[in-house]
């Protein structure tokens, strides 16, 4: 049986329970200090958008959270485990519960759409039968409106379709926490809005928590419960969309023009 998170977690309860806590996370590449004492909490059911300039370290931040990059110092507590201290086996267990949408989609180009979606299932849930896998693949693709592409090669898809397939692959394991790296970048405004609404919908339906990296203010407005400003490697400010939009701080204002 596949565990269905929504059964155990009725919407509206258990709010303000942190599913993720970052404390003083620092990371530098050579002399390039990307993150400096970044601290931040993510509560259950909350969707937080991270805003920051290009190159400010947003992708580095969420790669630290999923354990692809090891921070130089600080602790990253995800679902009760401190990520930098975990071994590979323990990391895999956490990763089965955390979805990650790559900025570049990262679809396997030697595989078909179906094989792309099957990959995380086969890897994380070895015990699933063929029919269960097939069902989930079709369901995930239908969710993003691309059921007809199932046997296409990923190289035959358009940019927006790739993004949606990547989204389906991220969501297929029904993660409790989702990390989106620029989910709407490169899409037309209509598709962008559809994706944003889909994200919102999924968050409600499965009561997932999410960190969303985005420059797209339309997307931000739709999905964000709150916004974190990543400036100079720090969590510079956090607040609701309207609060930050009306802020007097120059550095914050720049993002809302």
């Amino acid at each position: 049986m596949i565990t269905q998170p929504e059964i155990n977690r009725p919407i509206g309860q258990e709010h303000d329970v942190p599913v993720m806590q970052l404390r003083n996370v620092s990371k530098s590449f050579g002399t390039n200090d990307v993150l400096r004492d970044f601290s931040f909490d993510l509560n259950k059911g909350e969707n937080v958008v991270v805003l920051g300039k290009s190159g400010s370290g947003k992708s580095v931040l969420i790669k630290c959270i999923i354990g692809l990059i090891k921070p130089d110092s600080g602790s990253i507590n995800v679902l009760g485990k401190n990520i930098p201290e975990l071994n590979n086996h323990e990391l895999d267990k956490i990763r089965a519960k955390v979805g990650f949408l790559f900025q570049s989609n990262a679809l396997y180009d030697s595989m078909t759409v179906r094989e792309n979606l099957e990959f995380p299932l086969r890897r994380h849930k070895a015990k699933m039968t063929k029919t269960q896998i097939d069902e989930l693949v079709v369901e995930a693709l239908t969710n993003v409106g691309l059921a007809h592409t199932i046997d296409m090669r990923t190289s035959e898809l358009s940019g927006g379709m790739k993004k949606r397939v990547a989204l389906a692959r991220t969501l297929i394991l029904k993660p409790e926490i989702i990390l989106y790296d620029e989910p709407t970048t490169g899409l037309d405004p209509i598709t962008g809005k559809e994706i944003s609404e889909l994200m919102r919908e999924l968050a409600k339906k499965y009561n997932t928590s999410a960190i969303i990296i985005s420059h797209d203010l339309n997307c931000v407005r739709i999905v964000a419960d709150s916004i974190v400003m990543l400036i100079d490697g720090k969590c510079y400010a956090q607040g609701k969309y309207e609060e930050l939009q009306t802020s007097n701080d120059k550095k914050i204002q720049e993002f809302f023009i």
Binding site: K63, I66, L68, N88, D92, R95, A96, F100, F102, Q103, S104, N105, A106, L107, Y108, D109, S110, F119, P120, R123, H124
Partner: protein, 255 residues
Amino acid sequence: MKQGVLMRFLNETGDITRFAGRFFKEAFKPRYEIGEFLRQCFFIGYKSLPLVAITAFIMGLVITIQSRPTLVEFGAEAWLPKMVSVSLVREIAPVITALICAGKIGSGIGAELGSMKVTEQIDAMEVSGTNPFKYLVATRIMTATLTIPILVVLADAVSLYGGYLGANIRGVVSWDLYWNQVFDTLAFSDVIPSILKTFFFGFAIGTIGCYKGYNSNKGTEGVGRSANSAVVISSLLVFILDLLAVQIIDLLNLT
């Protein structure tokens, strides 16, 4: 951070050695990626077959034709099959096959892993509960190590057949006579060491291709460079290993 050429060379050599060491540490522990291994055998081994066979055939033919005049000069034309079979089996078939594979397989692996690296597919695998080193690297190194010797045995056979045709262009050597002479000449000490060394060729080609691809720099330009330097370095390594093999065989008096 400018480094001298020597430092860079030593650094790279160290990195490659460590990479190869990691292969031995990780490849033989579960979980075994059998499916991916078989898929690679098909792509790396089976798909190289025609190329290897054609080259080996031509080499056998050409070497025979070229050797004839010298032997005729010494009145030793009857020795043609003997001479040709030794040079083909001992040296030409293994090295030519390895070079072809360095070009085809080395660049293929380098470009494939390189593009997977720069488009974050390798990271995506890791996030999907897969050890990309085992899934991508270990399977490819293993495949190269095991399939190149098989290709060499095939190349031996095909090039000897080419030699038979070559011997019959100007002279007449019957099928039976040719093969009798060939098998009379070839001893185990010719065949076995020359096949053993190809395991090392295969390992080198697989390792360098994977190392270059897996450590590809950002950008599509990096992918091209990985593929290119994979071919250059692994071809060079094939010659160096061949040289070492000859010395060792010589030292052990296996000639």
